[in-house]
């Protein structure tokens, strides 16, 4: 199987994008999910619903709105320009931003469920053992929710790998910068280069299969031992 340089570049970009998005979402989504799982505030409902909303818009339409928002006249664009970051569209970090936004529900929803399943008792026990809430969160809630983290990360990672509607819109298909593998495959198909599309797709599938298989083999059950 001979992949072109472009293919390899695209794969590398994809792995980097999905990895970074997953890490960022772990950081961003976890507190949101934790809050949703434990709060009794009335606005828990609205917040939970808003988090899931990006899902219902078609990706390229969402991409269009993000393009508007992040463009020179959009609010995000104003912000990034004021901060001296410049404009995000057509950059790798623009892709990251858009994907984070778009994949948020895939991280938050499974985590929320996992956190809810823990119940109060382990955290109470931790408190009687001198663990501050933050400490207990990291040493008790997170390990107990590990299968939830795995599910959330798989969904987020895979979804970011596969997504291309938003990516095309925000990324502008720049080789080495925003042309990720999904876009590359799409381009191959559009250009009727089926052999190359098949090859790259097969390669992605095999690679993803191995990664997923590894995750499954290792799939933790924190309660068994």
């Amino acid at each position: 199987m001979a992949l072109t340089d472009g293919d390899l570049q695209a794969i590398w970009l994809t792995v980097r994008l999905a990895g970074i998005v997953t890490v960022i979402l772990l950081l961003v989504g976890t507190p949101i999910a934790w809050w949703l799982a434990r709060t009794k505030a009335w606005w828990k409902g609205p917040v939970g619903a808003v988090v899931a909303l990006p899902l219902v818009l078609p990706p390229s339409v969402l991409g269009f709105y993000l393009l508007l928002a992040m463009g020179p006249d959009g609010p995000v664009g104003h912000l990034t320009q004021t901060l001296g970051i410049g404009l995000l569209p057509f950059t790798f970090w623009g892709l990251v931003t858009a994907s984070v936004f778009y994949s948020l529900p895939f991280m938050v929803q499974p985590l929320q469920t996992a956190f809810e399943a823990i119940g109060d008792r382990p955290l109470e026990v931790a408190a009687t053992l001198r663990a501050s809430p933050l400490d207990a969160f990291f040493t008790v809630a997170v390990p107990l929710a590990l299968p939830g983290f795995l599910t959330a990360s798989i969904l987020t990672f895979a979804h970011t790998v596969g997504e291309f509607g938003v990516v095309l819109m925000i990324g502008g298909n720049l080789p080495g910068e925003t042309r990720v593998a999904s876009v590359q495959i799409y381009d191959h198909v559009e250009a009727l280069e089926y052999a190359q599309a098949h090859q790259l797709a097969a390669m992605m599938l095999v690679f993803s299969f191995l990664v997923l298989l590894g995750l499954y083999a290792w799939r933790p059950n924190p309660k068994k031992g």
Binding site: V125, A131, P133, L146, K223
Partner: protein, 356 residues
Amino acid sequence: MANIQARFQLDWPGFTLDIDLALPGRGVTALFGPSGSGKTTLLRCVAGLERAPQGFLSVNGEIWQKDNYWLPTHQRPLGYVFQEASLFPHLSVMGNLCYGMKRSANVQASALDKPIELLGIGHLLDRKPDRLSGGERQRVGIARALAVNPRILLMDEPLAALDIKRKQEILPYLEHLHDALDIPILYVSHSPDEVARLADHLVVLEGGRMLANGPLAETLARLDLPIRLGEDVGTVLDAKVGAIDSDWHLARVDFLGGSLWAREHGIPIGRHVRVRVLARDVSLAQQAPGQSSIQNVLRGRVDAIGNDGHPGLALVRVRVGDSMLLARLTKRAVAELGITLGQELWVQVKSVALME
């Protein structure tokens, strides 16, 4: 003043907790009461796991709850043994034991050695809790709570799932602990045996309210409460080891009013001990008894006669010197012996339990 002041009110559908308590700041306070009487809820309020609005709690001079002030649980220097062992399922036994220890000030790792040995969990350290038996889990839970160097211990039926032999190994350790550490222990138990053995102070709960609250000996001698202790009603005497008969492994304990022989446990002469005398082990006689296997015979005066749980039984309180003993008799025996208030009698004590 070194003591515990607690005032909690909670209103749940079907249950109301309404407690206003002052407890001694050291020694073991037993919480006694039927299932659903609020014992666990009270412990949870003390631990800060349940929030009773407008409650008040001070422990040995430190205020933990007052008006809107609220010390979070993790800042309360307590050890808690939960009614269900509640081990962390994701940690090994060792991980569970170390969890609190690592987060507590002034605790060396060696602090675990003694509890581990005593609770017989040394061979389980690498196991995950799902591979432990019920009693093993409970023992790990106890060791875990002891390892945090607490300034107050809250124990919710810690020995319920344990066999007698194991209990008899652990109880002296807990006794020792409370002597050595000088911290208060709130101890929920359904076992009068444990209560009598460990407690200095007794709180009786029912339906979320306090029925009795006082020093153990006093509360145990109250004739209006005995039924709750069932077969194990009795009194506790403060005494001192007066002599040791090492041939027969017996110790003579002297108390205000006489002496008794008890099994010897290596307690040196002169040491203060507590002696538990169960009402069922005490019999009364008009004439000095002849030679029998009952070796403890005292002279006492009838102080009070009350009913026991069963209509055929009576509890007779006898004053021996300055101390009180309870005797459980059939009412027929009371009648046949013609027992009356103030009467002088021979008191035979078949067996006594000695506690350090």
